[in-house]
Amino acid sequence: MERAAALDDPRPVLSALIEAGYRVIAPVEQDGAIRYLPAVDPDSLPKGRIDSQTPGSYRLEDGDPERWFDYVVSPESWKAWLYPARRKMWTSTRSEDGLSFERPEAEWTPTAFFGVRPCDLAAIEKQDAILKDGAFADPDYAHRRENALIVVIQCARSAETCFCASMNTGPRAQAGFDIALTELGAEADHRFLVEAGSEAGARVLEGLTEDATEADKDAAHAATNAAAASQIRVMPENVAAGLKARLTAPEWDDVAKRCLNCANCTMACPTCFCSDVQDTSDLTGDLTDRWRVWDSCFNPDFSYIHGGAVRTSSMSRYRQWMTHKLSSWHDQFGASGCVGCGRCIAWCPVGIDIVAEAETLMAQPED
């Protein structure tokens, strides 16, 4: 907070990023949702819009016309940019000289993610631990991540599906960003508290801001505290150990009856990273491309090994997803795999609520 500053309008930050040569990905309203898309015009920010997110439903509505960032998380997370759904890994060519392999061009210019919410920043950090710093790092992910500048918008409003406070990932990010903005209330003239979290972030802000007052800082904390206090969903605290002790509870069958096995939750989840590897070849058979594509533990063939699939029932697939996300992720990566963004709740076509399911399961006797 030492370098905190204030700003009347968020658009100069966007303009400064564009001027500094960054490709900017920012919130843009499209097809009834606020998505993260390339933004060339600072005026394209969806001012005055809010999202009503409930189990199985997402609607955009008019909010306070003076406010810029009262909507929360988009349908897609930033993994669509850092870990795209379909990415060529290499091309092999067969010729008289034998086989040769080539990696595709990186195709990634320095990019600014404008409007990353604290839960999504936490998700990026979880994916970093696996895809950038883990034992099986993905060079393409690492390259994109190292060339991504992150502008966080601290959340002054929670949707009904948000539960970041109980996952300790929001609604205020303490670190990990290059720039963070908090939209203050009417009493502070809708100004923004601006924090630089890195040298790169500070360079972008040079000359844009004035010094923040103590009142600005207090107003920023009040805004995010209010967003936390308004959250109605709370993940049970001991869920990691608790689920493990209830693997045969009949409630798993109950949720399986409602689950469509459609994989939407895993695709929308900002930390799910499972992928498949597919080869395509041309008609001559001399040219082969290898692709990485998003996969899901809900897909029937995901657990296919010689002789058949391991998880054939809907129950076993839902249990695998939920226990991995909330429990065995701790064993594997030292933390929960959930950041409380609520996407899996809103974007489940039948509105299955991971928090409610966790509460129901935790109320059952241990195995």
């Binding site: 439903s57 349908p75 008609l283």
Partner: protein, 254 residues
């Protein structure tokens, strides 16, 4: 290696799937160059006899004559691939399986006595062993190309076995059911179309047929919650793949 001998046959259908093959345009010349087309009436009047390495069959069986013809084709074909909703499920014409066929003929034709047709429209797999099914109404040309290139390279083709939702999410299409309340068959329908309808803002109508193990019951409960009447909900399943067992049940036809 000798070129693969390929045959393409039509049964009761609209020809749309054969057209998807001809629609390969950029790849068509290369395909024609890499395989030997021995029988493909829609493309060439040159007809050669079997045996065939790969046979593509479009359409459903709706006459006694076709029921015999598919036996003959099977006997001469090493790998038999059915293409499209008609060949794999019976197609839209299978709706007659649940109606009075004779009455329909009298309604439609001035001289129904000239029509020699079975009471039912049935998928090819009800009559002969099918080695691979390519779904869709029509089939996706990229799946056909994938099938041909995979066969040439002797590898397993990448034909997705997952819900249409996965295609929507991979493409960044915002879910029409969650964001607009539009009933969509995507969660219980096999992927592969290339995300056509939802990317145009409408619900999937299931032309690629049911995903194995899809939960139609839970989806219909959600349609009811969206305010869709049960009869309208059933009608959604009575389309191009109405006779596929999962949709037949959901559509209230069985």
């Amino acid at each position: 290696m000798d070129k693969l001998r390929v045959g393409v046959w039509k049964f009761a259908s609209c020809d749309g799937c054969q057209l998807s093959l001809l629609d390969c345009e950029d790849e068509l010349l290369a395909i024609a160059d890499s395989v030997h087309i021995a029988h493909f009436l829609e493309a060439t009047s040159r007809i050669e006899g079997g045996p065939y390495d790969i046979g593509f069959v479009e359409g459903s069986v709706t006459t006694e004559h076709d029921a015999q013809r598919i036996q003959d084709i099977r006997a001469e074909t090493k790998v038999l691939v059915t293409i499209g909703a008609c060949a794999t499920t019976g197609g839209i014409q299978a709706l007659r399986n649940y109606a009075d066929h004779g009455e329909w003929m009298r309604e439609v034709y001035a001289h129904p006595e000239y029509i020699q047709a079975l009471d039912t429209s049935s998928p090819i797999a009800d009559h002969v062993k099918v080695d691979l099914e390519v779904h869709g109404c029509p089939v996706n040309k990229n799946q056909l190309i994938e099938l041909i290139t995979a066969t040439i390279a002797a590898r397993k083709p990448n034909i997705p076995n997952m819900a249409q939702c996965v295609e929507c999410k991979r493409a960044g299409t915002t879910c029409v059911m969650v964001s607009k309340g539009i009933p969509c068959l995507g969660p219980v329908t096999r992927a592969g179309c290339g995300n056509l309808c939802p990317s145009m803002g409408r619900g999937c109508y299931g032309c690629f047929g049911p995903l194995k193990g899809g939960n139609t019951e839970a989806l219909m409960a959600e349609f009811a919650a969206l305010g869709v009447a049960e009869a309208d909900s059933q009608h959604l399943f009575r389309g191009f793949t109405a006779a596929a067992p999962e949709f037949e049940r959901a559509g209230g036809l069985k």
